[in-house]
């Protein structure tokens, strides 16, 4: 580390942890569109948080406000406990990687990475040294002299990441850095980002609309919809204990089954299961059940028939047509699923794991509804279940 960069902010992270970031009641409207609506999120020092939500939910807007590239209509951003609203973007010490390729085309990879240090008046030799070190960190040691046009998309995003890391930012902001890359490169770089975070421990906000990315990378996932925070928690909690219908629908696959709720439990498919916090507690409800929380056994007078068996490696997805004509998805290990084939009469039931119950009725356009209409269940949705 050069003396020039070893300032107070650098020292704040000397123990390997970063600074905390708090978003407090952020609002931002573009004309009639409410991009952010009272968004409040508390990010611990050194934490890796993913903002997850559908396209247009305000993720980029939130990130831009943290970076100082946009202003909130109201609300505060606190970094290390200080309100930074008045600080312009170039004095916030945040490393940002953008959704679009953003390397400076007239500079080599080395000069791109060294740019932030140059702005901080770090001497040339120290700059070069740091640039090569960070390029090594992102696995591009031999690429320092390449221009952006001479690199693949994945390599460019790595350089962009290196450029953001080189200034030893207080907070690292990643706006869907992988979305322009193909699946294989995306997977590699995703693992790399996780590794680098473990290595340097900078507080990181990772924006994505890809649930798999969010769930595999983040310490905590903040699910956002229409500019509002739906739920924030560790990936397992988000997946297993969704608080709202939106979260349950957006993450993984869910079956929608009719049930009757009473005294903190709900009766669904002849089984009584506990209710999750946030559920509708009494009366007729729609119960949201994950495919892996379903279970089928062969039975001649059962409540449904197998409609289709689709093999997905170690697991199988069974589509079961209930006597009520509803279609449900059931996930089971492939070894168990071999006994079933289309047309077999079965008894479908629900395992005794807590479920979310919501007001009855179909959510138009929801993922569960998609399962009904789309005979070839979309592969990425299926992956996410596994």
């Amino acid at each position: 580390m050069t003396p020039e960069t070893d300032t107070a902010k650098g020292a704040a992270r000397a123990d390997g942890s970063g600074v905390g970031v708090q978003l407090v009641g952020l609002r931002r409207s573009f004309g009639p569109t409410r991009a952010l609506d009272e968004l409040s999120i508390d990010i611990a020092p050194g934490e890796f948080v993913a903002f997850l939500g559908p396209s247009g939910c305000g993720k980029t807007t939130a990130l831009r406000i943290i970076a100082g590239l946009d202003d909130a209509d109201s609300g505060e951003v606190l970094v290390g406990g200080k309100d930074i609203r008045r600080l312009p973007a170039n004095r916030r010490d945040m490393g940002m990687v953008f959704q679009a390729y953003s390397l400076f085309p007239n500079m080599t990879a080395r000069d791109n990475v060294a740019f932030g240090l140059r702005m901080r008046k770090v001497r040339k030799r120290a700059r070069r040294q740091k640039a090569e070190e960070v390029l090594g960190l992102v696995g591009l040691a031999g690429y320092a002299d390449r221009y952006p046009s001479q690199m693949s998309g994945g390599q460019q995003q790595r350089v962009a990441l290196a450029r953001a890391l080189a200034i030893e930012p207080r907070v690292l902001l990643l706006d869907e850095p992988l979305s322009a890359l193909d699946a294989k490169v995306r997977g590699e770089l995703r693992d790399e980002i996780r590794r680098i975070h473990l290595e340097i421990g900078t507080t990181t906000v990772f924006v994505t609309h890809d649930q798999e990315e969010a769930l595999t990378l983040a310490d905590r996932v903040a699910v956002i919809n229409y500019g509002r925070l739906q739920q924030i928690g560790p990936p397992t909690e988000i997946y297993e204990r969704p608080r709202t219908e939106f979260v349950a629908d957006f993450i993984g696959l869910t079956n929608r089954l009719p049930g009757v709720a009473k005294d903190g439990t709900v009766a669904v498919l002849d089984t009584r299961v506990p209710l999750l916090e946030g559920s509708v507690e009494s009366g007729e409800v729609t119960v949201l059940v994950r495919p892996e929380a379903m279970h089928v056994t062969p039975r001649d007078d059962g409540n449904g028939r197998i409609a289709m068996v689709s093999f997905r490696g170690s697991i199988c997805m069974l589509r079961v047509r209930l006597v009520t004509d509803a279609l449900v998805l059931v996930q089971m290990p492939s070894a168990e699923a071999t006994q079933f084939s289309a047309g077999d009469p079965v008894q479908a039931s629900v395992r005794s794991v807590p479920v979310l119950a919501v007001a009855p009725g179909d959510r138009p356009g929801s993922r569960a509804a998609d399962v009904e209409s789309d005979p070839s269940l979309s592969p990425d949705a299926a992956d996410a279940v596994g």
Partner: protein, 285 residues
């Protein structure tokens, strides 16, 4: 198999022939007038074709003081116009692009406006302004710069705009801001190098336009290159043609330099240069 191979061979032969025919026709169309100018300007006896050559016409350029001073004046005007144009237009356009994108249409409209206004209208409109300003800014013909800057606006605007659009300037600027650059640093270190090709072609178009401008300077009675060429042409056609040819060649050299320097390392930059090169065609319409 072989039948198809030979048919492919025939097709590519045909394509080659066609390519050459087009090349020769276009080349001839562009070169013959130049060769004719060279031929005429070096004739021994201006009234008849003959093989005897003379350099008198070309020597006439150097010998004629008004030609030399006109060349100097026009070059000065061209340089001034480029400088003023770049200093006015580039920062404005970048600022509008980055900070007030809503104004983009307005700026575009204003910049393209001079295209629709005939030179004579500009002169008639500006003559009173100039006569007022004369006592203040002096008699120097360099005041033509003000009109020329307006005149080159549409062409310069188009080249700069093309290169601004060919890169994601907003994201680049935001990235640079996030890394600690002030707006001035963003402009000088990121934007200008990224749109270098566009700036160069704007400069070349402006130079070409100023060197070729006749109507306005003639009407306002300033002795710029074209005005003098016209005058000289009335008593010595050979010198006039020699000057014209020299001006043309000068323009070509300039274009060549810019397209090799400006094409740069980047494909995007090259694309802008080509686009700008195409717009060059507008000039001679």
């Amino acid at each position: 198999m072989t039948a198809r191979a030979s048919s492919i061979g025939r097709r590519s032969l045909l394509r080659n022939v066609l390519r050459w025919v087009i090349f020769v026709v276009v080349g001839g169309y562009l070169l013959i007038p130049l060769v004719a100018m060279l031929e005429f300007s070096t004739r021994e006896t201006p009234t008849a074709m003959a093989w005897k050559r003379t350099a008198l016409g070309w020597k006439g350029i150097a010998d004629n003081p008004s030609v030399m001073s006109a060349i100097v004046l026009s070059l000065e005007l061209a340089a001034l116009t480029v400088v003023v144009m770049l200093f006015l237009l580039a920062p404005t356009m970048v600022w509008v692009h980055l900070r007030v994108p809503k104004m983009r249409r307005v700026i575009e409209f204003i910049s393209l406006l001079p295209l629709t206004i005939p030179a004579i209208v500009i002169v008639v409109g500006l003559a009173p302004v100039y006569s007022r300003l004369m006592p203040v800014i002096g008699q120097s013909p360099l005041v033509l710069t003000f009109i020329y800057v307006v005149l080159v606006l549409p062409y310069a605007y188009r080249s700069i705009d093309a290169s601004l659009r060919s890169i994601d300037i907003e994201t680049l600027a935001q990235a640079a801001r996030g890394l600690g650059a002030s707006w001035l640093q963003v402009f000088l270190r990121i934007v200008v190098p990224s749109i270098r090709a566009g700036l160069l072609s704007a400069a070349v178009l402006s130079i070409a336009l100023v060197l070729g401008e006749f109507t306005i300077s003639s009407l306002l009675v300033y002795d710029t290159l074209q005005v003098i060429v016209n005058q000289v042409g009335q008593d010595n056609a050979q010198v006039a043609v020699a000057v014209s040819l020299a001006a043309l060649l000068f323009g070509f050299v300039l274009l060549f330099i810019v397209s090799t320097v400006g094409a740069g390392r980047r494909r995007a930059a090259r694309a802008t240069a080509i686009e700008a090169g195409l717009e060059e065609g507008d000039l001679y319409e």
